[in-house]
Symmetry: C2
Subunit: 344 residues, 2 copies
């Protein structure tokens, strides 16, 4: 056990030429201190290596996949990537699921106790589905954070924050272009459009379809991803919609779609091509699924890097980073041949 003790408030006070009470006031953020004196105190503390905020002692960062019941594989993998980077830097990373209402104003959000109270947690990585109110809440308590940009609902200005994006918008465009390159024209989009990232995928799909002079068509269902895929596909079939390819908003959704098609005697990819998103389980489906890979471990690594950098240099302007996706061509798509879809 090292005796490494940080200088006391009394010592900081002497060094800064102020009273003990003033240092205490600065440290507690209770107010009643002029900004000049506060700056003087903070400068003194920094120079002496004194710790005013007990959080500075913590070497632990929190990873919050907010507002998700289950622990999505993507988020597990983001955590794993972030954790392993943290470890190399001497930091530890704990994960805690937590929920708050999407309409809750900043002040009313009850943060996890480790974050709210005491100096247990030094900084936060936000994943999951978040609102700007949570960012405001963290700002208010002076907690540093980096955030996964994809799932942040509503309007906000990313430039003021440390943000990492998975480039699913471009991924969706690439996927759609790929289907077009296979001569498909009757391409449907299936997913829960209420989810912000699905809305963005839809946007990418629409852009490319419209640029190609085609009518984008989609069906949305707010439900379990897999089930939504199954039910939406069944619906398309029963309505005898013209369709030769289906863009599913996730791999599980694609799995549901494929199962629905198979149950209805429609062959994949011979009659209908199917693509998914994220490459979470595409490799083990039958047929193996064409999808876009989104490198969650890499995303986690960068989130960790940004937040650790933020801790070291609080004044730094916010950084934004976009991780490209990669089209993974497997066997669930086929060039649209003379053998038209059974459904047309």
């Amino acid at each position: 056990m090292s005796k490494r003790q940080s200088p006391s408030f009394r010592e900081v006070a002497e060094y800064a030429g102020v009273s003990l009470a003033t240092v205490s006031r600065v440290a507690s953020g209770r107010g009643g201190v002029s900004s000049e004196v506060e700056a003087k105190v903070r400068a003194a503390a920094a120079k002496m290596g004194a710790i005013l905020d007990p959080r500075e002692k913590s070497q632990t960062i929190a990873f919050l996949p907010s507002n998700r019941d289950l622990l999505h594989p993507i988020h597990s993998r983001i955590y794993v990537g972030a954790e392993s980077f943290c470890r190399t830097q001497g930091w530890e990373l704990v994960l805690q699921t937590f929920q708050y209402d999407k309409n809750q104003p900043a002040k009313e959000i009850r943060l996890p106790r480790l974050i709210e109270r005491g100096g247990a947690i030094r900084a936060v990585i936000l994943a999951g589905v978040n609102t700007t109110a949570l960012l405001a809440r963290l700002d208010a308590i002076g907690m540093s954070y980096a955030v996964l940009g994809n799932n942040l609902a509503g309007d906000w200005d990313p430039s003021a924050h440390d943000v990492v994006y998975m480039d699913d918008l471009e991924g969706a465009r690439e996927l759609t272009r790929y289907l077009l390159s296979l001569e498909h024209r009757d391409i449907w989009f299936i997913g829960d459009v209420e989810q912000p990232w699905v809305a963005r995928l839809l946007r990418g799909y629409r852009t490319v379809m419209e640029e190609a002079g085609l009518a984008p068509r989609w069906h949305s269902m707010h439900s379990d991803e897999r089930q939504a895929g199954y039910l939406c596909a069944k619906l398309l079939i029963s309505r005898r919609e013209p369709v030769t390819a289906i863009f599913a908003a996730s791999d599980p959704t694609a799995e549901g779609v494929i199962r629905a098609l198979r149950d209805s005697g429609v062959r994949v990819p011979e009659e209908v091509s199917v693509v998914g998103v994220n490459d979470t389980e595409g490799a083990i489906l039958h047929p193996p699924l064409t999808t876009i890979r989104s490198f969650p471990e890499e995303v986690g690594r960068h989130l960790a890097e940004l937040v650790i950098n933020r801790i070291a240099k609080p004044k730094l302007p916010g950084q934004q980073l976009t991780i490209p996706t990669q089209l993974i061509r497997r066997e669930s798509c086929r060039v649209l041949a003379a053998t038209a879809s059974a459904l047309v």
Copy 2:
């Protein structure tokens, strides 16, 4: 903010009829206090609702899936089940992956900082792959815990601890019996036998095979589960081993097996039946996989229940709980018909 303050050491001292210093000594565990006086102090503190151990203030439990690089879906789901139970009881649950050497003695294990230091964490749930040294370490620092029994290597006495088991041993027996009931006789077991839970599955398989007067046969490979399945199955094929059914030690392993068989032109289940374990991805495979379901959320719930109970009643004898598994019959198995396996 409520003013609920716990009684001070001074008050406890007065109540117990000892000095402030003695209470401080008891609280810090520094020693130099007779056991009678210590008991008197603790009794007084308990009666007054005073907090001697700062951990008592914490309402947060840690979930440690130890020694696993990735965050296995099973462990994610155990966490989710445990977290949601904790939440209903007013507790929070944080997850942290952490590694230690299997040969490390208790004293040398570096625990996560939140657990080692300060009063951040009240108790621990151990999942992942653990050694008895970690249990000893937690005992030494007076940290309450419950442990997932399946993955604890080596000899130990469960009766002294709070343990939850997934009954994979009986699951393996049931699965083997099921294959026997389909007339299979040439049944191979594939998995990484170095993993404690795989060793137990193998034991269940062997027991039933031997009771049926059949020779158990297995192939082990220390590798990625999926890849191990693929390579072991390929090996069986290339060696032209007689085989009509394969017991894979996990669903991913079964997926590898099925892919290897398909790549070699062997049809599942027509020529070879395949089963998996844990039902993590069996439902989305093709053909849908017969497997045993192990209810990880339920396991998590019970782990949380045991550890919360332990906090409330530290003197209670250890409790052990076994969660049964369930055979899930899907389409990857077939009654062995006159059409003998292509490999025989």
